[in-house]
């Protein structure tokens, strides 16, 4: 544009300068976004790098020596495998296996697994991450031939079906995350059962019923502050209340469901309630936001036809706030799933191989399991941890996806 307008006294019309400043800020914002994305990608790559790769393992007993009349182990029948187990295991160990589950009820694959675990006893001697496994195969083979001439090399994905369905074990090749996954799900169930009704109820009270006085303002301020309290503090609270004070309740002793001599309060129920307390303020705040977002004109319309407060809340406020309430709840719950510190305090077990089956079961959770595996000295457990992290991420992503799904679904109610 030609500068055909005369300069107006008192104005410095520096459009170019203002635009320049705008461009600089634009670039700064873009850069922050890119840094965030890079950090996220690096995180994901790091996990994936650990979850796949070459594994070198040796067998205590050469599988070839277990061939039966020239029939290789892989092709032997169920009965032959049972016989093999019987002849190679001590009678005590064999009958213990039989007691856990009768052999004739087990599938051939399961028996083969037992043979591999108890007779052949594969042992990991070295693991490689995904990146060296892809780029330095020749070097890996050379190292292997030199250091472990008897070892076999195999490319494995640590994240497999078996990993998800097998219980915890001290042997990395057979360890799985099922115990931890079930523990997390059980815990989260009680978290939701506690936090959702109480949280939504409190939000309704604070938004719709509570009058604006100093007491309610104090409560509101406290809820906001509680949302920022470090999770370890909730862990200590849960330890004091649920694990210790309410031990008879949380251990199930009151209901007579457990053996009172071994029962203690370090159960799924205690952990779920502790996490429930942890996310309760977040759920209240999110639900309040959602309720506040329901337009006042809707309430007026409802009162205008002679509805009571409860009819207004139930028929108009809640249905319209529900998508927001659900989204907030699910996001709060995904935070709870990833919590580690309070679980350590309320006593999640680290090495446990049986599944939680009731509110009064001992348990471990995925983050605890990950923490425990990463703190082991052997590299193969870090690969297991990477696989478990992937499982945890998938659980979180599916929760968030269901939040979006529910929001869209409830928004199209009519």
């Amino acid at each position: 544009m030609k500068a055909n307008r005369l300069a107006v006294e008192g104005f410095i019309n520096d459009v170019k300068g203002r635009n320049r400043a705008g461009v600089i800020w634009h670039l700064i914002f873009q850069a922050s976004t890119i840094v965030g994305i890079i950090a996220l990608v690096a995180l994901l790559l790091n996990i994936i790098n650990g979850a796949f790769g070459y594994v070198a393992f040796e067998a205590r007993v050469d599988p070839a020596s277990l061939a039966l009349d020239g029939l290789p182990l892989e092709d032997q029948s169920k009965e032959q495998l049972i016989a093999l187990l019987q002849s190679n295991l001590s009678s005590g160990a064999f009958s213990k296996l039989e007691r856990e589950q009768p052999f004739d009820k087990r599938s051939r694959e399961k028996l083969y697994q037992q043979v591999a675990e108890r007779i052949i006893k594969y042992k990991v001697v070295k693991v490689w991450d995904l990146w060296p496994s892809l780029t330095q195969v020749a070097q890996i083979r050379a190292t292997l031939a030199q250091e472990y001439p008897n070892a076999q090399l195999k490319f494995v994905s640590w994240l497999t079906n078996d990993f998800i369905t097998r219980p915890q074990s001290s042997e990395p090749l057979t360890a799985g995350a099922r115990t931890a996954i079930l523990g997390s799900l059980w815990t989260i169930l009680f978290t939701i059962l506690l936090a959702f009704p109480i949280g939504v109820g409190a939000a309704i009270y604070l938004e719709e019923y509570a009058s604006d006085n100093w007491l309610n303002r104090l409560i509101q301020t406290n809820i906001n502050n509680l949302a920022g309290v470090p999770s370890i503090v909730y862990g200590i609270l849960g330890l004091a209340i649920f694990v210790r004070s309410l031990e008879r309740l949380t251990s199930g002793a009151v209901f007579g469901l457990v053996d009172p001599t071994t029962a203690n309060g370090r159960t799924v129920l205690s952990a779920g309630l502790t996490l429930g307390l942890l996310v309760l303020p977040i759920i209240i705040i999110n639900a309040q936001e959602a309720i506040r977002a329901v337009p006042q004109s809707l309430r007026k319309a409802s009162y205008g036809v002679g509805a009571t407060k409860w009819q207004t809340v139930w028929s108009h406020v809640l249905p319209n706030a529900m998508p927001g309430i659900l989204t907030g709840t699910i996001l709060a719950v995904s935070r709870a799933i990833g919590e580690t510190a309070p679980m350590v305090v309320v006593g999640a077990s680290t090495a446990i191989s049986f599944d939680p089956s009731s509110p009064f079961s001992k348990f471990t959770t995925l983050p605890i399991q990950i923490y425990q595996w990463t703190s082991r000295p052997q590299a193969e457990f870090r690969s297991l941890a990477a696989a478990a992290i992937l499982v945890l991420l998938v659980m979180l992503l599916s929760l968030n996806a269901s939040a979006i799904f529910l929001r869209n679904r409830f928004s199209r109610r009519w």
Partner: protein, 261 residues
């Protein structure tokens, strides 16, 4: 309310009514009577307390603004502001239409039926919906899309839907708070024609900014103005044609002739 129907000439009477927001006196010393089956308009400049006064007629004020009143409002011979009166019942018998059309985010059918249902209506709901929509002059436009959202209608249709919704619970009085202020002239005209129909069966009180609307549509007009203490009051209340042709108060004359306000 257990009062026997008095069937007197006046449905609503304000006696020396003052309305307070906290310690602030928003409306002071109002005396006016709303005649049965007539349209009574409340006019006046912005902020003079027209809507506050209107909302005090069905105790809507106290829900949102936290107001209290002095003086009294007599509805069918009974003071509305006594402890034994349930405000929910007041709002059931004195319906309301708001400035901004606010249909429920539900189907057109549900918009009408919900109010009747919460009051325990046991009759034929389809008939009630149809007759309410017919009374609101909306039936022909929506009869094929009763299951569609009330929010999908045009602004004028939404406002008539709100009127139909108010009619469905069979109120005795309908309060209208600038019902046509957000509508174009054609939709406004429809609402005004509708009011003339409705006054056969209902008593209507309407707040309006639009003086032509008050002059055209109402039987009685209350002129409100702010006094020296910033409290609004009714300075003149009379038949509409008197207010607009021979007002006794100079301020009313200035206002209705457009000299200020």
């Amino acid at each position: 309310m257990t009062t026997p129907e008095t069937n007197g000439k006046y449905v609503l009477e304000a006696h020396n009514l003052s309305i307070f927001y906290g310690s602030f006196k928003a409306v002071t010393g109002v005396n006016m009577s709303v005649e049965r089956n007539k349209i009574t308009a409340i006019i006046g400049p912005s902020g003079c307390g027209k809507s506050t006064l209107l909302r005090s007629f069905n105790r809507m004020n106290e829900l949102f603004a936290g107001t209290r009143i002095e003086g009294g409002i007599i509805f069918e011979g009974q003071n509305l502001y006594t402890p034994e009166i349930d405000p929910v019942e007041v709002r059931y018998r004195i319906g309301m239409v708001f400035q901004k059309a606010n249909p429920f985010p539900k189907s057109i059918y549900e918009n009408i039926a919900w109010g009747a249902r919460i009051h325990g209506y046991k009759g034929n709901m389809d008939e009630l919906v149809e007759s309410s929509l017919r009374q609101a002059a909306l039936w022909d436009e929506v009869k094929d899309k009763l299951k569609q959202s009330g929010l999908a209608l045009s602004g004028g249709q939404q406002q008539r839907l709100c009127i139909a919704r108010a009619l469905a619970v069979q109120p005795e009085v309908i309060l209208m708070d600038e019902p046509a202020s957000a509508l174009d002239p054609i939709a406004t005209l429809k609402i005004e024609e509708l009011m003339q129909e409705l006054k056969q069966n209902y008593t209507i009180v309407i707040v309006t900014h639009n003086m032509q609307q008050a002059a055209r549509a109402s039987d009685y007009t209350a002129m409100m103005m702010i006094d020296d203490n910033r409290a609004g009051t009714v300075i003149e209340f009379n038949e509409t044609n008197v207010i607009f042709t021979r007002p006794s108060d100079k301020r009313t004359e200035d206002y209705v002739t457009g000299r200020f306000g």
